[in-house]
């Protein structure tokens, strides 16, 4: 009966005009977000921007001041309509940043408690716990207490606890932030695989843009409680809708170059203080100041003079094995270039650079919004 009901239930999440303040200071401002069934969606933003709050609002651990929340098409929260489904009935799984394992229970008990709540038969509980423990490779640890496990193992217990009760939706609040760097990279792969196998709708909170890019179907970039952009990693990376998103996503940071769009001899140009470059696209922004952006990997360089390329002086070189980060300067303008492998440049060398003009975006200097191509 229950199973039938749950399979009939879609598990998309819709937030409509959700706002939340804590004693007067807004943490989430009129947020609209639609998360589709089985998608892996990441809430990305700097610390304090309201990611955790958003997650807790979805879970029902906090109540929005205004707005509506739907799960599977069903209204689960609306103050105005007098609707409130409590967290314990929302069929969600949540992994807390601290894991929140119960310190007085063994690994087995930690996992089985939620299953007992579902009134499952004893054998079924036993079977499920055994299965998930195998899945997270913790079978030998079933009778340990959380304090007897390493950070990575605790993390996996938290995952096991969540997937054992087979919720429709996974919520994760910076689940990898307490792990050391190596383990974090391994766990990313595990989480992605987990999502692939179980197909649960997942909302994942992180401030780490690499994590967001590597894991997500879609990324929601937040700032100061507001949603800045919601799109696929590709869109977010290549077409950030404003300078904040452009700067927040990508490492090393995107280059920004002030300049203007101008038409000369019938051709549209981007003209900055020391170079100009013809564009292939057209913009309804001719003759006005703009800020151009270009990713470090979209700048080509040469150690020998090339015609039409810009001559620059190297300010520093940071080889990292798989890539080399080169910063160059001209007048006051710093630029960062990313080159594959070890690059043959030294400090103070002169090099020649060229921009992949198709990858260049232009932003309004005041509103900092993307200027779309016409």
């Amino acid at each position: 009966m229950l199973v039938f009901f749950r399979e009939a239930l879609l598990s998309n999440i819709v937030l409509k005009g959700i706002s939340k303040s804590f004693s007067g200071s807004p943490a989430v401002r009129s947020l609209n977000l639609e998360i589709e069934e089985s998608q892996f969606v990441t809430l990305l933003g700097p610390s304090g921007c309201g990611k955790t709050t958003t997650l807790r609002l979805i879970a029902g651990l906090e109540d929005p001041d205004a707005g509506e929340i739907f799960i599977g098409g069903k209204l689960i929260f609306s103050r105005e309509k007098g609707v409130f489904i409590p967290p314990e009935k929302r069929q969600l799984g949540l992994i807390f940043q601290s894991y929140a394992l119960w310190p007085h229970m063994t690994v087995y008990k930690n996992i089985s408690l939620g299953l007992e709540e579902q009134k499952l038969p004893k054998e079924e509980i036993e079977r499920r716990v055994t299965t998930v423990l195998e899945k997270v490779q913790l079978t030998p640890y079933r009778d340990r207490y959380p304090s007897e496990l390493s950070g990575g193992q605790q993390q996996r217990v938290a995952i096991a606890r969540m997937i054992a009760s087979e919720p429709d939706i996974f919520l994760m609040d910076e689940p990898l932030s307490n792990l050391d760097a190596m383990l974090r990279v391994d766990m990313r792969a595990e989480l992605k695989r987990l999502h692939y196998e179980l197909g649960a709708t997942t909302v994942y909170v992180t401030h780490d843009q690499v994590e967001a890019l590597t894991l997500s179907d879609k990324i929601a970039v937040m700032m100061d409680g507001e949603l800045r952009q919601f799109g696929s990693p590709r869109e977010i990376y290549h077409y950030p809708t404003d300078l904040f998103v452009a700067r927040f996503v990508g490492s090393p940071r995107i280059n920004t170059i002030p300049g203007a769009l101008a038409r000369q001899e019938g051709k549209l140009l981007f003209r900055s203080a020391f170079f100009e470059k013809a564009l292939q696209r057209t913009f309804d922004f001719e003759g006005r100041d703009v800020i151009a952006t270009i990713r470090p990997e979209d700048i080509a360089f040469s150690t020998t003079p090339q015609s039409g390329w810009l001559e620059m002086q190297v300010y520093s070189v940071l080889p990292a094995g798989s890539e080399t980060i080169i910063t160059v300067r001209k007048d006051d303008l710093p630029l960062t270039i990313k080159a594959p492998g070890f690059a043959d440049v030294e400090m103070n060398d002169h090099i020649w650079i060229d921009f992949d003009i198709a990858r260049m975006n232009f932003y309004h200097p005041q509103t900092e919004n993307l200027i779309p191509a016409a």
């Binding site: 609306s78 103050r79 309509k81 314990e88 929140a100 310190p103 709540e117």
Partner: protein, 609 residues
């Protein structure tokens, strides 16, 4: 898409929302209920005291011509503060209370801080043993030492046998040594030093030497470290110890009654008792208000001076790494002094009490005078006015049973309520509900026990609102003890809850666990240690409660403490002392049982008092 609902419906919907939410938060509902009932039990008494002090009482009718009972009057205030009797009703007792209060506080804080420093910060041996022994006097009723004192220093002032001192030296003990301010200060000081000891050692534990070492590396000299690092951390503890000791010793009843009344040395609490006993309730109420005001002022000053810093320091034994101060040659001297102190404060009183119960004729210290009659003898009109030996005495058995029942009921009710309040306060931090719960549950702290007893006596002598007449019932004793203990139990509930990260409960919630289930499976097990030690402390406090219940007991509901007081009053020393030993015995057994089940931590449940 959506049609905006009419404002009325919208408001109704919001109400529906709030109600739906409440349905999943029984703690809020329970706390609201508690708040209402408890306000009734705290505010009504206060209003009753006020009203009683401002109106003519029945006993005043014959004193004041033309007065009508219940009529508004300043009569009691004038009588107490300016009248012919003001000296003996107010000024002298007040002066005595102040002397006792400051004297005890000085003695107790000196002893407590010294012991705390020696045990925490020096290299003396037997540290664990000392830290347990040092809090033991606190588990005994505060007047046990007073009883022992009387047994030793009693002089011919009161009828009956002379004390050991006179019997051994042949010199009659002078009055100043036998009764009044000196013995009161000493006896109370030997009891109340435990507060300073616990609070200061708690603070000293938290000043770990890393802080001090860091300061030393930063170039501060020893005295500067003391002033800049150690002192600021210990000051709040000292402040709390001062307030706690001062208010407690000003408001205490047993010891000043035992050691003061024989020489008509009154403090405010004993004067309240005398006034109410002579049916001058109005005077008693005025005096009770004085104590309430004093306690209020002390708490206010404490919160002002110490500010936001936690005034009740908890002892978190976080890796004690401090380099102990070397005592060198003093080491053995100091250890001997500490053992001597424990001998005087704990062993000696108990031995004296025990010995005195074995003497056929008090004051005769020959071996041939020893007897077990007072413990097991049949009724014999030549001895103890025909009282049966303690073990055959049905009155004492029923008193013991009542005491234990009272302790267990209070422990369970206070424990559960404390946990609930702690939960609600911590989960709703900053809300009106949380604030009023916190304030209200702390309010009984300002009531002197004796005055609270008097009010409850008046309030529940006849049916009060929906409550039937409770006077003479055991339930009334439980009620008053529970109310009086709420400040402590709510505080320990709050501190237990603060240790539990909310995410532990929230994750259970998302797993589908209902509130009751979460409480049972997550909150309760995690709070259990604090809960159990809090219950033990409530049990002990209830067992040794005297002033609160002395006006409320009837022959059927007598408890051990009131039995002791009555025996003492009738000069039946052996019985009084013997029953005291039984009381101590029960308390010790309770302690051992609890620490058997819950490790050795139980004793340290005292730490948050």
């Amino acid at each position: 898409m959506t049609v905006q609902a009419k404002p009325v419906y919208r408001r109704l919907n919001v109400l529906k929302f709030e109600l739906t939410k409440l349905r999943h938060r029984p703690d809020v509902l329970l706390s609201l209920l508690f708040l209402i009932v408890f306000s009734f039990l705290v505010i009504v008494p206060l209003l009753q005291i006020l009203k009683g002090s401002l109106t003519y009482q029945q006993s005043d009718l014959r004193m004041v011509r033309g007065s009508v009972q219940g009529q508004l009057t300043a009569y009691h205030y004038l009588r107490v503060f300016t009248g012919r009797l003001a000296q003996s009703l107010f000024f002298k007792p007040f002066w005595h209370s102040l002397i006792v209060g400051f004297g005890v506080t000085f003695l107790a804080m000196t002893l407590g801080s010294l012991f705390a420093w020696v045990i925490v910060r020096t290299d003396i041996p037997f540290k664990p043993l000392f830290s347990v022994l040092m809090v033991t006097p606190y588990m005994m009723p505060s007047w046990v030492i007073a009883l022992a004192w009387l047994t030793v220093f009693k002089n011919e002032r009161i009828a009956g046998a002379q004390g050991m001192f006179t019997a051994m030296t042949g010199v009659s003990a002078p009055d100043w040594l036998s009764y009044g301010v000196v013995p009161i200060i000493i006896c109370l000081g030997l009891h109340y030093y435990a507060y300073s000891f616990l609070l200061v050692s708690g603070a000293l534990w938290t000043v770990n030497s890393e802080l001090e070492e860091a300061a030393a590396i930063a170039g501060l000299n020893k005295r500067k470290i003391l002033r800049k690092i150690t002192f600021p951390i210990v000051i709040p503890a000292l402040g709390s110890a001062f307030v706690l000791t001062f208010t407690r010793s000003m408001g205490t009843f047993g010891t000043p009654a035992l050691l003061g009344l024989p020489v008509r040395f009154f403090t405010i609490p004993t004067q309240i008792y005398a006034s109410i006993n002579t049916r001058n309730n109005g005077d008693g109420y005025v005096l009770a208000l004085v104590l309430v005001a004093l306690a209020g002022v002390a708490i206010y000053i404490n919160s002002r001076v110490i500010g936001k810093r936690r005034s009740f320091v908890t002892m978190q034994g976080k890796g004690f790494t401090s380099k102990p101060t070397r005592l060198g040659v003093w080491r053995y001297g100091i250890v001997s002094l500490m053992f001597l102190f424990i001998f005087i404060a704990i062993v000696l009183p108990v031995v004296i009490l025990a010995w005195s119960t074995l003497m056929r004729i008090p004051g005769d210290y020959s071996l041939s005078n020893l007897t077990l009659h007072y413990w097991i003898g049949k009724s014999n009109f030549l001895m103890a006015s025909g009282e049966e030996g303690i073990f055959r005495n049905p009155g004492i058995w029923s008193g013991a049973w009542n005491s234990i029942r009272l302790g267990v009921f209070a422990a369970v009710i206070n424990g559960v309520l404390g946990l609930l309040i702690g939960y609600t306060v911590v989960r709703n931090r900053g809300s009106k509900l949380a604030n009023s719960l916190e304030v209200m549950s702390f309010a009984p702290y300002v009531f002197p026990g004796i005055a609270m007893g008097a009010i409850y006596l008046g309030m529940f002598a006849k049916p009060f609102g929906p409550i039937p007449a409770l006077y003479g019932t055991f339930a009334l004793l439980v009620l008053i003890v529970v109310v009086k203990n709420m400040p402590f139990s709510s505080r320990s509930g709050i501190s237990a809850m603060l240790q539990i990260d909310p995410s532990l409960e929230e994750s259970a919630r998302l797993q589908g666990a209902s509130w009751l289930k979460r409480f049972r499976k997550i909150i309760f097990p995690l709070a259990a240690t604090g809960f159990i030690s809090g219950m033990l402390l409530t049990f002990i406090t209830a067992m040794r409660e005297l002033s609160l219940v002395i006006l409320l007991v009837t022959p059927a509901t007598r408890v051990l403490t009131t039995i002791i007081f009555a025996y003492q009053d009738q000069d039946q020393i052996q019985h009084a002392n013997g029953v005291t030993l039984i009381l101590l015995f029960i308390i010790i057994i309770a302690n051992i049982l609890v620490s058997r089940f819950y490790g050795t931590k139980s004793l340290f449940g005292l730490r948050n008092t």
